[in-house]
């Protein structure tokens, strides 16, 4: 074992908690993608509609899940690595080259992600069979078809997640070692660096694609004889636009936090602090905003889609049952991941700001005021997130209601919007409260500094 590897190993053993977020994201990611991949593998041994169902379920639903999973794994790994800027600075000050420092981050991530991916793949073997049995007992697959999932599909799923995590850690490592070496991290927060051009390009591409699909739905597929043609073009639009907006989260938060922060501002010292922190350090909280947007847009968009579909078509056809099940699986999966990401992101940002929160305490803020400011920030982020997420969900809802002849506004199911919004806000505030509390009682350290 060379110096970098052994340092990476020691650093991990020293702080198992820091690696937990990455571990959980990769484990669940590999398990989910892997179990859907087993369906595709099973399809090769099936015939007729069974093969179609398995491929659609595995590739389409699994594919969409994979986009969300990879996004969440990448952002978790990124947040975890960025948090350690000070430590990386220290290692470099005492003589590590940028290359060695990068290796340290990449290897550490590789150890954690590798272990998690193996565990995830093992889980996928069981979960894939469970999923298959579920489809079969639901009558979506005939009993003639046998489960054919094996190590190949499960390993492919794990490899995909590993690839995403290593790319993310390489990008984060490059970012952490770009500047000159130094222990002092700029606590200045006005460092609202401009967004990289490729990030803006990706965001615009995703949003543009989502809107284009919406337009195609209204212009073309709405008139198709197959009622599901409109669903296939509009169903993913809300997710596309949502992920696109999530990529732009730092900029959007900076723009939206000021007007929304004014509403929170009057709520005492905590509100005052929260409103300025979200507006002036949008880059810190953008990691939390991104999953909130995706969670809202995917949940509102897809649940409304299912609702409109159930209302506008004669129910009970086997087709509609399958499709509703698929849609609900997608919503469930995305919600689970987005919720994990919200919690992860909060834990990460709060751990990063422990010193700063302690500073407030030194100046005479009560523990309640300190926690209040963190929850206030969460409230602003949640408000901005559900607003943008609901906006993104329109990319699915509007074209699909038009396609099903309900006009621009759906005839029913509007209660789903406040229900999802309430759920998302509860998750965000809960994550913030938990993170603020686990940041610990600042009184433990008696030091004045």
């Amino acid at each position: 074992m060379n110096a970098t590897s052994s340092l990476a190993w020691r650093s991990l053993r020293h702080r198992p908690l820091a690696a937990t977020a990455t571990f959980v994201a990769v484990l669940l990611g590999a398990a989910l993608i892997g179990s859907f991949a087993t369906l595709v593998e099973s399809a090769s041994g099936a015939r007729g509609t069974d093969a179609d169902t398995l491929v659609i379920m595995g590739a389409v639903v699994g594919g969409w899940g994979a986009v969300i999973v990879l996004f969440s794994v990448a952002s978790t790994v990124g947040i975890t690595a960025t948090q350690r800027a000070a430590e990386i600075g220290l290692v470099r000050t005492i003589g590590a080259t940028p290359r060695q420092a990068r290796k340290l981050i990449v290897r550490e991530t590789a150890v954690v992600a590798g272990t998690a991916a193996v565990a995830g793949a093992a889980t996928a073997l069981g979960a894939g069979r469970l999923l298959f049995d579920l489809l079969q007992s639901g009558g979506l697959i005939t009993s003639r078809t046998q489960y054919g999932g094996g190590p190949v599909s499960v390993a492919a799923g794990a490899a995909l997640v590993l690839l995403a995590s290593s790319i993310a850690s390489a990008v984060a490592a490059r970012k952490a070692t770009r500047g000159p070496a130094g222990v002092l991290v700029q606590s200045s927060a006005a460092e609202q660096s401009r967004m990289a051009w490729w990030r803006v390009a990706i965001a615009l591409l995703l949003i543009g694609y989502g809107i284009a699909m919406a337009v195609i739905t209204i212009a073309v597929t709405a008139h198709d004889a197959d009622p599901y043609a409109a669903m296939s073009t509009s169903g993913s639009s809300s997710i596309l636009v949502g992920v696109g907006l999530a990529v732009l989260a730092p900029v959007l938060l900076r723009w939206c936090a000021t007007p929304i922060g004014r509403l929170v501002g009057p709520f005492g010292a905590s509100g005052h602090l929260a409103s300025y922190n979200t507006a002036r350090r949008a880059h810190l909280l953008a990691g939390v905003l991104a999953p909130v947007i995706v969670l809202t847009s995917a949940a509102v968009g897809t649940l409304m889609l299912v609702n409109i579909d159930a209302r506008s078509l004669p129910a009970g056809t086997p087709d509609s049952d399958t499709i509703n099940l698929l849609n609900n699986v997608v919503v469930g999966m995305i919600s689970l991941f987005a919720a994990i990401m919200v919690v992860n992101a909060f834990v990460a940002t709060i751990a990063h700001r422990r010193a700063e929160l302690h500073r407030l305490h030194l100046l005479g803020a009560t523990a309640r005021q300190v926690r209040g400011s963190v929850v206030g920030e969460a409230a602003i982020v949640a408000a901005v997130g559900v607003l943008l997420g609901t906006l993104a969900s329109l990319a699915t809802v509007v074209p699909f209601t038009v396609a099903r002849d309900e006009g621009v506004v759906p005839d029913g199911g509007l209660w789903l919007v406040p229900a999802v919004v309430a759920g998302v806000v509860a998750v965000t505030l809960g994550a913030a409260r938990g993170a603020a509390r686990s940041a610990g009682n600042p009184m433990v350290s008696g030091a004045v500094r």
Partner: protein
Amino acid sequence: MSTPSNPAAPALAVHDLTRTYGTGDATIAALGGIDLAFRRGTFTAVMGPSGSGKSTLLACAAGLDRPTSGRIAIGGEDVTDWDEERRTRLRRERIGFVFQAFHLMPYLSVTQNVGLPARLAGKRPDRARVRDLIARVGLADRAHHLPGSLSGGQQQRVAIARALVCQPDVVLADEPTGALDSATARQILDLLRSSVTDPQGPSQTVVMVTHDPVAASYADEVVFLVDGRVAGRMTHPTADAVAGQMAHLDDLVVAR
């Protein structure tokens, strides 16, 4: 906005203050029985080698750490047994802090940082007073800047304005010039000095912990701590005299 307190009593007084860490054989006495009173309108430097108990003294006085035994009085009021809630209020209303690392909130402007203690106390900052203080520390033209765009000396001046905003009984400064170059350090020390002697404003009381004999020479009096005990005092200090005394602290200990 500070609670009225007895004007005749010392701004800060500690009586037979001890603080020990650990138990059994591993017991370390950071403070071994200290008696000190800091009169109103005085500037005192607390000096001593590392581990002499300087920072522990400050932490106890500020209610950040609980003494093992002894009493602490702020403005004549015994605060030793106050609970966490009251000590927090004490910190923001009757004690001003100046730290080595400035400790400004990075996302608040200069004006907002200076007004923060009032906000934490649930009040609206007195705009005129905040503006005056910012002008007094020479940052009138930077009032709306964020700390990240200020130099270290400018940030420390903001911190001093923040410490003075509540007209505290006592300003506790922990190595306030430790992170600054010598020219900037002189400006900061002049500023602390003027807060004590300023004939216009209400005169403040400053207790400053420092390693630096030059910094200590700005004070009215220097208190030397060694091994958690007061080892000597010096009035009208000069940098040379303080440095000489620091070099012979062992003699003071023997003399005791």
